[in-house]
């Protein structure tokens, strides 16, 4: 058999002399020439083209080295501000419906049906409340943020952002297209991991995967926004508080970008050594976005799918929360045991035992971190008159009430700041980790993707806490 294969190669060798050298170059050239000839026959361009000039002016502005970055952050700040301001009222309405109306109804139904207390507690206080919380906290900001993001994407702004960041990424030894995958990460880290396929070199792709976590996904915004509003927004006069809160979130985003560069730089000089490869990024034309279609698809396809995933993950987490706070060992619940054990270490890094336990329970879904923290805080401080008992996640009518609970739990501005930093830097959620494992196919790199950000998060929080203590 192999002789026939050899013959093919021999024939090819012989014919190659017949057809002459450099056939590859000649065929490619022939294609280019023909393409140019056909195009010149079929295409006619009329004299005036004002649109091109408009685009050029706009491009000069958004990709200029002096105006590009400020414009980028301004757009980001405005988007966050609209999200924070706009999400408030629908969030409260949903909470009123799901938590204040349906939840008591379910509880009284449980009593009517004479369910045992542990069953109704497990189902309605654990599983249902977790789900309801996720819906009321996540749905409004997502329904506002996703359409805005999609509009910018449809318009053609994203590749300009990539263009602006490209030089920085190259200096960090990473691929310029990482800017695009990072932008996807602001929607969902798991989706962004899949999108790193646009990066050809395995080395640069790994860097993009390992640092994608520093782009806060939609599951982490509610945390960022809420904590920024409670601890930083309240430091400012009321009419400025939402502006200050959005600025704080923008700063967190910027810190995330800085860490993306630092870690990319560190990786490309240590375990993932190599030079950045070149690529061409085409700046597509600006296209007027289709408003209604964008609204429709981003609500139906992005918001509802992400929400559905959050709900699916929140329900088992809610069940776990209820269980750890209701199963007692030696008269004290498992939750309290763990919190007491974690507390000294938590304080050392400017957090507390409650936050650490909440992050362990909430590994499947970042969006349930805040409700878990509130519930555990009440459990530990045994506040009278707030909350509804062990293992019940609840929502408080106003942010001030939330702040009160947290302050009673020993929270300070430092705890708030460090929680925002920890939420930004810590390990990716389990969905993202699973996606990384599927995409890269290596348990080792998946472990690095989990523990590298986690160690950075601990380190940064520790340093901030120590500095804070030294100054304050």
């Amino acid at each position: 058999m192999s002789s026939r294969r050899d013959e093919i190669l021999k024939t090819a060798e012989a014919i190659r002399w017949e057809v002459g050298e450099k056939l590859y170059d000649r065929t490619v050239e022939a294609v280019y020439e023909e393409a140019s000839r056909i195009a010149s026959r079929a295409v006619a361009v009329s004299g005036q083209k004002p649109r091109f000039d408009f685009e050029r002016t706009l491009d000069k502005l958004v990709t200029n080295r002096w105006t590009g970055f400020p414009l980028m952050f301004l757009i980001l700040a405005v988007v966050f501000w609209i999200t924070i301001e706009g999400a408030n009222i629908p969030s409260q309405m949903l909470a009123g419906l799901l938590l204040d109306t349906i939840h008591p109804a379910l509880k009284s139904f449980g009593e009517l049906a004479s369910m045992p207390w542990w069953l109704s507690g497990f189902l309605f206080d654990g599983v249902y409340l977790a789900m309801a919380w996720v819906v009321s906290v996540m749905l409004p900001p997502m329904a506002i943020f996703f359409p805005l993001f999609t509009l910018a994407e449809d318009f053609g702004y994203l590749p300009r952002v990539a263009f602006n960041l490209d030089a920085l990424f190259r200096k960090a030894g990473a691929h310029g297209k990482q800017a695009l995958t990072m932008a996807m990460g602001y929607g969902c880290n798991a989706a962004a991991i899949v999108s790193t396929r646009i990066i050809d070199s395995p080395r640069e792709r790994l860097i993009a995967v390992l640092t994608n976590n520093f782009a806060i996904c939609n599951g982490r915004w509610p945390t960022q926004i809420l904590i920024a509003t409670i601890f930083l927004g309240t430091l400012a006069p009321p009419h400025l508080s939402s502006v200050i809160a959005s600025l704080a979130v923008v700063i967190v985003v910027v810190i995330g970008i800085v860490f993306t560069f630092l870690v990319s730089w560190g990786l490309s000089r240590t375990i993932l050594k190599g030079e950045a490869s070149f690529f061409s990024l085409e700046l597509p034309p600006y296209r007027p976005p289709r408003l209604w279609q964008t609204l429709y698809t981003s609500v139906i396809d992005r918001t509802l799918i992400v929400l559905w995933r959050a709900v699916v993950w929140a329900m088992p987490a809610g069940a776990v929360i209820w269980l750890v706070s209701n199963i007692h060992i030696g008269g004290v619940s498992i939750a309290e045991h763990v919190i007491t054990a974690f507390h000294p270490f938590g304080l050392l890094i400017g957090l507390n035992g409650v936050i650490l336990l909440a992050y362990i329970i909430a590994i499947p879904a970042n969006e349930i971190v805040i409700p878990t923290i509130l519930m555990l805080t009440v459990l530990v401080t045994r506040m009278a008159g707030v909350g509804s008992g062990a293992g019940v996640m609840f929502e408080l009518e106003s942010e001030l009430a939330t702040a009160e609970v947290l302050r009673a739990g020993g929270w300070t501005v430092l705890t708030g700041v460090n929680l925002m930093l920890f939420s930004l830097l810590h390990n990716p959620c389990s969905t993202t980790l699973y996606t990384i494992y599927k995409e890269i196919g290596s348990a080792k790199w998946t472990a690095v993707a989990a523990f590298l950000p986690l160690s950075i998060a601990f380190l940064v929080c520790f340093v901030v806490a120590q500095l804070w203590g030294a100054i304050g």
């Binding site: 058999m1 026939r4 294969r5 050899d6 093919i8 190669l9 024939t11 090819a12 014919i15 190659r16 017949e18 057809v19 056939l23 590859y24 065929t27 490619v28 022939a30 294609v31 280019y32 023909e34 393409a35 140019s36 056909i38 195009a39 026959r41 079929a42 295409v43 006619a44 361009v45 009329s46 005036q48 083209k49 649109r51 091109f52 994407e153 449809d154 318009f155 053609g156 994203l158 590749p159 695009l180 969902c188 989706a191 899949v194 999108s195 396929r197 646009i198 050809d200 990024l281 085409e282 597509p284 034309p285 296209r287 289709r290 698809t297 139906i300 396809d301 992005r302 799918i305 996606t435």
Partner: protein
């Protein structure tokens, strides 16, 4: 003139839209496979959505489709499976996302390859069209973004283009849904063999090269009877492509093509999963 009812319109043979049923994700049984290829960011996913009724994510940046998406529609009594491929500038490149597109066109044996082209950047898009014409006969060119071309004062003569290329050329603005019915009709004609294409073959235009490629392709076909594209392999061998030489020498070529086919057939589930995550 008497009033027409909607029922009469739907029964009318001129109303081609009525022959279209969007089947979404139901790719269970099909008569033809359609591949959507083209440069990045020319609106392939938008055309895909218009054909299948699905809402594959679209956005104005190159590289957003990284996995193959599949959908289906039925038109004039035939069921079509549509495969949306990642954008590619050329069939000669080696990057992983572009490989997906190239492998499918080469070895996935689609019944019709629809090359979606950007009417505002025709010359660059023609490079890919000409390369695709080199390896398959059944091609329909979808000249997309006609609305944008009009806005920029660019007119493209689709009939000249059709004469030059020897395959159907359909001007469309997929975002507005313009030209989709005409595109469907052309796809149908090419798939059923009603329209016989005479593709322009630039590389093998010279008798010399054509003979050489044919002779070598004949030998390759004898050794690898199941290989869908012996002419392409022959051309790459003549160009001295080391990867292709190695694949022939070790006999891996047959396995390679077979693997790709198998992957396309069994890969459906994996791809769907990836889509759910990506959306």
């Amino acid at each position: 003139m008497s009033q027409l009812t909607p029922e009469q319109c739907e029964a009318c043979p001129i109303n081609r839209d009525a022959k279209l049923t969007r089947l979404g994700l139901d790719v269970s049984s099909f008569d033809y496979v359609i591949a959507l290829a083209g440069n990045p960011n020319v609106g392939k996913s938008t055309v895909f959505n218009a054909l299948t009724g699905l809402r594959q994510h679209t956005g104005n940046w190159p590289g957003k489709t990284v996995v193959r998406a599949e959908g289906a529609f039925s038109y004039a009594g035939k069921r079509y499976k549509v495969v949306d491929l990642p954008g590619t500038y050329s069939l000669l490149s080696t990057s992983t996302d572009e490989e997906v597109a190239r492998d499918f066109i080469l070895f996935g044996e689609p019944d019709v390859t629809v090359v979606v082209a950007d009417a505002t950047r025709l010359e660059r898009n023609l490079n890919l069209i000409l390369q695709v014409l080199e390896i398959t006969d059944r091609v329909v060119v979808c000249l997309n973004l006609m609305d944008e071309a009009r806005r920029h004062g660019i007119t493209v003569d689709d009939r000249t283009l059709m004469r030059e290329l020897g395959v159907p050329v359909v001007p469309t603005s997929a975002r507005q849904g313009e030209g989709i019915v005409q595109l469907l009709e052309r796809i149908h004609q090419v798939a059923t063999g009603e329209f016989v294409t005479k593709p322009r073959r630039v590389w093998t235009e010279s008798k010399n090269i054509k003979n050489a490629v044919d002779r070598l392709a004949e030998k390759i076909r004898a050794e690898f009877p199941n290989l869908p594209n012996p002419r392409w392999v022959a051309l790459r061998l003549l160009e001295g492509d080391q990867r292709m030489i190695d694949a022939v020498k070790s006999g891996e070529l047959a396995a390679l093509a077979e693997n790709i086919r198998m992957r396309w057939q069994s890969g459906e589930k994996r791809m769907e999963e990836a889509n759910v995550v990506a959306s």
